[in-house]
Symmetry: C2
């Protein structure tokens, strides 16, 4: 990686932490300049516009998500073990960013706001749901989950579970959040078990 | 109801619609003045500060939520029927406001922001979770749900399901969102059925 790429990565890491706390709309070049101790004009040279900063930060979070959640799951054996590894990795993802899962924040910011950010976000979410469904399909093929399992339904339910966990941890300070999420996951898996 | 109360209710109805679309932080006296065709100074007389406007709008949404979700459920027979009525009523709640469930938006806005809004929101959410748990407890007492049902776990899972549905409908424009949410609810009920 060149020095220029290193710098850009370090800036985007910081931008992602800010977005997880105050949202992508709250992320400004001014704030980023303060946190990275770079000049505003230097940052403008990297991003040119606020929307470019937002889009590149969202794309950066996609790479983080793949490294933190998808790759570790793919390293696990095919089948139920991989679905379990995916869930465990998602729980770590929730802790990687200061403000928790940046997608939960972004979904609320852009669901009513058509444009490039909404399109990118929606496509990342579809990609996540398809990753879950694919791993579930493999678990059916391996004989771990029932033949009549609907992989997209499983994906919806696992995704809903992660949203519930995020809110319990962040808003309700619920000590039990992790226990609730794990119990919910076990019930989900048990329901689809062959 | 006096004319003054009617006016206040009409203002808060409008404020709630705005908050559901742009969030409580995006809700301003200026925007509200435009939508209600009232003067800013007239609105200042009602609310005195932006935080008061936010808090009173949140409290107003609590009354709407009770009327839309809790009361219709309590009109249903005790037991599983009431839990089903609660879920059906929640699905209507999602459609009552232009921007969908205002609590999903508020949770993301205030989870990292200590203060009166976060406290009020957290207390409304706890109240909602306790309402679910109480209805589930009754369903256990009526013999509809298994003796070993954990009502708080059920509440977590139903709440997570509503968050998943909200996001599918709002962000992913998923035609299947309602079918997914209903299938998920049926699986939830089936798991706890006696």
């Amino acid at each position: 990686m060149s020095k220029g790429q290193d710098t850009k990565t370090a800036i985007l890491d910081e931008a992602l932490q800010i977005a997880s706390q105050v949202g992508f709309e709250g992320l400004t070049i001014g704030q980023l300049a303060e946190r990275t101790e770079m000049s505003k004009s230097g940052l403008f040279a990297h991003f040119r516009s606020k929307e470019q900063l937002q889009l590149q930060t969202l794309e950066h979070s996609r790479r983080w998500f793949i490294d933190t959640v998808i790759r570790p799951a793919l390293a696990a054996p095919r089948g139920e073990a991989r679905v379990r590894a995916l869930f465990d990795a998602w729980l770590r993802w929730e802790e990687v960013l200061d403000g928790g899962c940046v997608y939960v924040t972004a979904a609320v910011e852009y669901d009513d706001r058509p444009g490039a950010m909404r399109d990118a976000l929606s496509s990342h979410q579809q990609e996540w749901l398809e990753s879950i469904a694919t791993m579930v399909r493999t678990a059916v093929a391996e004989g771990d989950f029932r033949e009549d399992t609907d992989p997209d339904q499983f994906a919806f339910e696992l995704h809903a579970l992660t949203l519930g966990y995020h809110q319990f941890v962040r808003l309700l300070d619920d000590d039990l959040a992790l226990r609730r999420a794990r119990a919910s996951f076990e019930r989900l898996v048990a329901c689809y078990h062959s």
